[in-house]
Symmetry: C2
Subunit: 237 residues, 2 copies
């Protein structure tokens, strides 16, 4: 059996009771460590889950052959930061398992895609999500403009293997270079979903390094009165 288990956004206690029980009954536990960044170490997870964890990089998960072979005879868990299908990369493994008639169990969890609701922006009013890559790209600004009057969530690139995480300030410099008005009001966020999250509502040109990761940016579209009220509480001049 293959178990795809979302472990949420922060630390060991973010797993669900269902997820923890499932993890503890498996023979192998992998952790994908390339789609986001937890606020704890793999060792913290191992201590709390009472299980040895094997780190799995993108190539290993997307190839999937070892995991699927093990899942034919044993219980194999893949722990996924956030929710199971928030990143597109895990769907391929799920489909391959089903094709091979391997039983699959999914345990959902919190995702950055809904944790952004704490900003006060209404989740149903978000358009397409865009990613801001380390290299130059015109796509994010195009998405932001096409989404308007809807809000745009911009996920910032990361390379955990090399301990490299993008700062909202650098992402915004790139967006401005590609045509975003520097006076556009944006929401720069770090460590959303944790008790130490940072949320700043200010003009794009004013965003300073937040120093905590992962980060994301939201470019709001048209704002409802209630959304404005919420954003006021995060205003930074």
């Amino acid at each position: 059996m293959l178990l795809l288990i979302g472990i949420g956004l922060n630390d060991p206690q973010d797993i669900t009771l269902k997820g923890l029980e499932a993890v503890q009954e498996t023979d192998y536990v992998y952790l994908e460590n390339y789609t986001s960044k937890l606020q704890c170490s793999t060792g913290d997870l191992e201590t709390f889950y009472k299980k040895k964890i094997i780190l799995a990089d993108r190539e290993f998960v997307e190839d999937g052959s070892i995991i699927l072979q093990q899942a034919q005879e044993k219980n194999v868990a893949l722990l996924i930061i956030g929710d199971v299908f928030s990143a597109t990369t895990h769907m391929s493994l799920y489909l391959q398992a089903r094709e091979k008639n391997i039983a699959v169990k999914i345990v959902h969890n919190a995702s950055i895609l809904t944790a952004v609701g704490i900003t006060g922006l209404q989740l149903y009013k978000f358009g397409k999500t865009t990613s801001i890559p380390f290299h130059d790209s015109s796509t994010p600004v195009q998405v932001i403009k096409a989404n308007y009057p809807l809000h745009t969530l911009c996920l910032l690139d990361l390379d955990p293997k090399n301990n490299k995480y993008m700062e909202a300030q650098d992402a915004l410099t790139m967006l401005i270079h590609k045509g975003l008005d520097p006076e556009t009001k944006v929401i720069a966020c770090a460590q959303l979903g944790s008790d130490s999250s940072v949320i700043l509502y200010t003009e794009a040109k004013n965003v300073k390094p937040l120093g905590k990761f992962p980060q994301c940016i939201i470019v709001p579209g048209e704002l409802h009165f209630m959304e404005k009220e919420a954003l006021k509480t995060y205003t930074f001049n």
Copy 2:
């Protein structure tokens, strides 16, 4: 202190370890029972959480005065189906608490907004979310058309107090009446995020009653090759 605790989509075991610990340390535990439907009773939650639960309807939560008064001196938890801010209705309580300098703790959880990822549709390609009300409305079809080529998630209305939940078939009849081509391929879903979920990919006119609740409909936009591969596994003729 006010604790806003997402409890996920299904049953008592969907709460996170962090959420359970928080619930057990509170003096009053409310459960909002109007934004969705769990696959268990309030009694099941009480037994598992070892806490008495008070049901709270929309008026009680949106007014908020009793909860906020209690939260000035005691620990008060509001349990929310799905993630905390997936429904817009809980933001007002959060803002009121902050205005009154009441400490607030948020515990995130899984939401229908990302659980739909199991269909194989890529979550970043969804546009605005729409709700299909019991009464006639032209809005959902307008949203679907405006979102294209993005996907549209349609949440179906529900009235748990009167045990009334909308069938995807009835919602689609309304959409077709308002201009949706009856041959549009749609995904009709029931109890997503549970082990007993139903996912059917077929033409709008072909959807039959699913008999399980809650339900939602997704009207896909332009499909990527991988999305088509996933949807094939849910095809129903």
